[in-house]
């Protein structure tokens, strides 16, 4: 099961005792602030979790894979994410302990 905003709000309620409305609002605002920073062109660095960055993409020719029709892809800015060393370590640690379990879960999620 995927972790959603509702689960995150539930966690704030259970672990920190925010009331349900506050918890829901907090989760909403957390993601909104990250989005706003990125929309303003700022990189967002959440130590221990990862960094969100921005990358400028040049225009390039593309095509509709269904019809084969050529359509130009315009220049654009895209968001990138680099997981922190700590997060990667946690993933690898769990992979060492529960390799098969993790593999089947990740393949089911793909």
């Amino acid at each position: 099961m995927a972790l959603t905003k509702a689960d995150l709000a539930e966690g704030l309620f259970n672990e920190l005792g925010l009331n349900k409305r506050e918890a829901k609002e907090f989760v909403e605002m957390f993601f909104e602030n990250v989005r706003t920073a990125l929309a303003e062109g700022q990189q967002v660095k959440l130590s221990g979790f990862g960094n969100f960055g921005l990358r400028e993409k040049n225009p390039r020719p593309g095509r509709n894979p269904k019809t084969g029709e050529e359509i130009p892809i315009t220049a654009r800015t895209v968001v990138t994410f680099r997981a922190s060393h700590k997060l990667k370590e946690r993933v690898e640690e769990n992979a060492r302990l529960h390799a098969e379990q993790l593999k089947s879960k990740v393949q089911a999620n793909a």
Binding site: M29, A37, V44, N94
Partner: protein
């Protein structure tokens, strides 16, 4: 923007919460997200994006200095796919 700047920005918008509680709440969110990813669960946040693990199969790599072949074991790497609203907003409202 760093984590402490994010905490400060959220505190300013949530005056009913103590800055200390805002800090704990931010840490709690990141902890939940890290734990979910480490366990191989997806994270789906509408309008923001989704996180999941990607599987990288084992391969034969090469030591770039010596040219010697080395077995690289398989691994799982965290991946983020931006959601529609985030993509549009960083791209100035167009796609």
């Amino acid at each position: 923007m760093t984590k402490s700047e994010l905490i400060a920005a959220l505190s300013a918008r949530q005056p009913q919460l103590q800055p200390r509680d805002v800090e704990l709440a931010v840490k709690e969110l990141l902890e939940q997200m890290s734990a979910a990813l480490a366990a191989g669960d997806r994270i789906e946040v509408r309008g923001f994006g989704s996180f999941s693990l990607h599987y990288r199969p084992p391969r034969v790599g090469r030591n770039p200095k010596t040219g010697e072949a080395v077995q690289v074991p398989d691994k799982f790497v965290p991946h983020f796919k931006p959601g529609k609203e985030l993509r549009e907003r960083v791209n100035n409202g167009s796609e």
